[in-house]
Symmetry: C2
Subunit: 440 residues, 2 copies
Amino acid sequence: MNKQTSFRFYKPRKMKGRLAKLDPVKIADELARMEPELQATTFDQLSRIRALDVFQLLDVAHQERILEHLAADRAAELVEAMDPDDRAHLFNELPSHISEKFLDGLSPRERRLTDQLLGYPEESAGCIMTPEFVSLRPDWSVAEALSHIRKSGPGAETIHTLAVTDEHNQLTGMVELSDLVLAEPVRKVADIMNKELRSVRTDDDQEDVARLLQAANLLAVPVVNAEGHLLGLVTVDDAMDVLTREEEEDHARSGGAEPLRRPYFSVSDLRLAQSRIVWLLVLLVAATLTVHVLNSFEQTLDKAVSLALFIPLLIGTGGNAGAQSSTTVVRNMAVGHVQPGDFLRTLLREARVGLLLGMMLGLLSYPCVWIFADQSLALAVSLTLVSICSLASVVGALMPQIARACWVDPAVASTPFVTTVVDASGLMVYFLIAQAVLKL
Amino acid sequence: MNKQTSFRFYKPRKMKGRLAKLDPVKIADELARMEPELQATTFDQLSRIRALDVFQLLDVAHQERILEHLAADRAAELVEAMDPDDRAHLFNELPSHISEKFLDGLSPRERRLTDQLLGYPEESAGCIMTPEFVSLRPDWSVAEALSHIRKSGPGAETIHTLAVTDEHNQLTGMVELSDLVLAEPVRKVADIMNKELRSVRTDDDQEDVARLLQAANLLAVPVVNAEGHLLGLVTVDDAMDVLTREEEEDHARSGGAEPLRRPYFSVSDLRLAQSRIVWLLVLLVAATLTVHVLNSFEQTLDKAVSLALFIPLLIGTGGNAGAQSSTTVVRNMAVGHVQPGDFLRTLLREARVGLLLGMMLGLLSYPCVWIFADQSLALAVSLTLVSICSLASVVGALMPQIARACWVDPAVASTPFVTTVVDASGLMVYFLIAQAVLKL
């Protein structure tokens, strides 16, 4: 696992031999790290079956790029062989004229399944569910159930988890294949099925669905419509991918950039700059606030230039305290530990913690600044640390929650935005305190 | 799913009735959000079977707290019924005198399994593998394999994935239960098993193992020793938990705090402050660098106080650019897209992107500052933006990679540290440019 198998520097002729021997997982991983040009040519050298294996393991972004470069018939063949949910996910990302071309080329059965999934809203459970599942009846015996699975199993994406439905396709329970295999053949499905109905709706958020699968240790969760009719299953592998995608999004936004959605080296410099420039610009415009604040205190600054010495340290510390509180709150919102109803409780808590932290820092810095400068400046700096830490912690908890209330991803309102807000308000606090303490 | 079922305000007598009806997943979720005192009393009201279900769904931190408050015999019963890997994970977190007491109380079989897992290093695959698995022989028929599974399956943690080993317990392949069920009973296991050996070693890092499971869409991956002998399986539910734990760690550290490892409201204010104070202090000490830098330029500042107006804006923008580059690099290192060999490639790339971003920001800000102040100040600010963005992007890419080279979690060297380094060096750049441009 730790050895890095790289074939980036192999000659094309030698590569073909190597590719036939490598694990598809390794190939997919290497492809994902390649520069765009090499990706398609390498993929082209894979045998038919291997190509399909590898293709299904790739991210949507890479699937897209490879399809662009393949001969039309080979591309159509790959698309036809995909699982319907993965195919729908891919089509959602493709430019519509390309996805429509592929859609037209599909067999009637696959086309129907795909059309159905494409109808659901983005990021919903409907988009990632597989409509190819096996359902059992509660009054069947285990032997009957197993023989039904043997008949209809090969077309399904998973038979590890099986849904139990009545004659109206109403979901009544779930049963795992392992329980069927271990049970006496004469027992009824109804006796061994899990009646704890953990189902989700087609329009439930993908992330919530994935967290449910994780919290309940499930291999698949059934998706039903408003009437409780079974429409599909979301499997654990798709749930893991959703969580990773969401994490990547949160991570990128917490650093003030848009997610790349592909590996670092497979995007161009320009694309990388593009994912960052809007944020930088917005933040730069917001930062002009600090210029205005300082401008309005220019006289004070003129009288005591030494005040300027502590500006970066103070607003830096405020930014750090704000980052701490906002990342904690964003993360706990994402995993459901901070609910919309916890608004005030969170603010009060961060105010207390921020005050505590500020008091510790203020006490520690007082003697240090006194040695370095003079006593009244030390007092101003210490008092500012106390205020700025409390303020930053509250702002850090406030902004993600406001974002959520406005239906914006809470991660958007994170570290860089909090820092910028804290910079401006912290400066104001600093100069007001300094004016009072130094009697300027 | 969206409805929040809360029983925090129910009277104890009413609660018992409600608890009997609720899904264990919901109960576990609610327990995790409760303040410490309520948690144990609520748990105490659960029926025996339900208590076990709920207990197994809880995080280690909550399991720990609940065990503390339960009667000794009830606690011992819960621990005995846990899966060995979950139990080992719990014991690793418990104070050693408590875990030893529980270890002594275990049945000989469970004790042996647990002892075995406790011997592996922390964060290794060995700690999270289940030693209770079923293995098949390649020369068995499918019918023989299924009948073996029926006999030995009930003691295993999972039978969805089965290992195939030779008579020396050497791993030769893997087969899924679904493939066995769908195959002709007379076929040989060797014919239907997957010979692509994706196994890991006991001392492989948990996160790598989890990423492998995810990349290859596996339900379980076999763990072998140096001789290729099968020792256990890591299942997908444990892999998901590992990923979530690692994400939480990265997320907290990227915000400059230690991970809480428990839900926000279940920790005390003091514990929250504790997870932050060390980082704040270290960063505050690092930030004193900025005071020294400014101090050495005090004369320049005295001559042109208006230079101070742009300090927060410039170092703020530098911090943002640094945060963007460090979060991108840290994330791509975590998922394996930036490897140790990519050191220089990453630095060059970030230098180019940083320069590009800086030039865009510099060009845009030039006329704005000109209007606001004067032309030479505008020039100084623009040139500083170009330099600070390039510098920050490189530092953002450099620090996590240096951290990894020193065996420190790359996430530690993220946003707040990058910001602090960029603050000090950015100030130096600003004043040097300003001295040259304004001829001070």
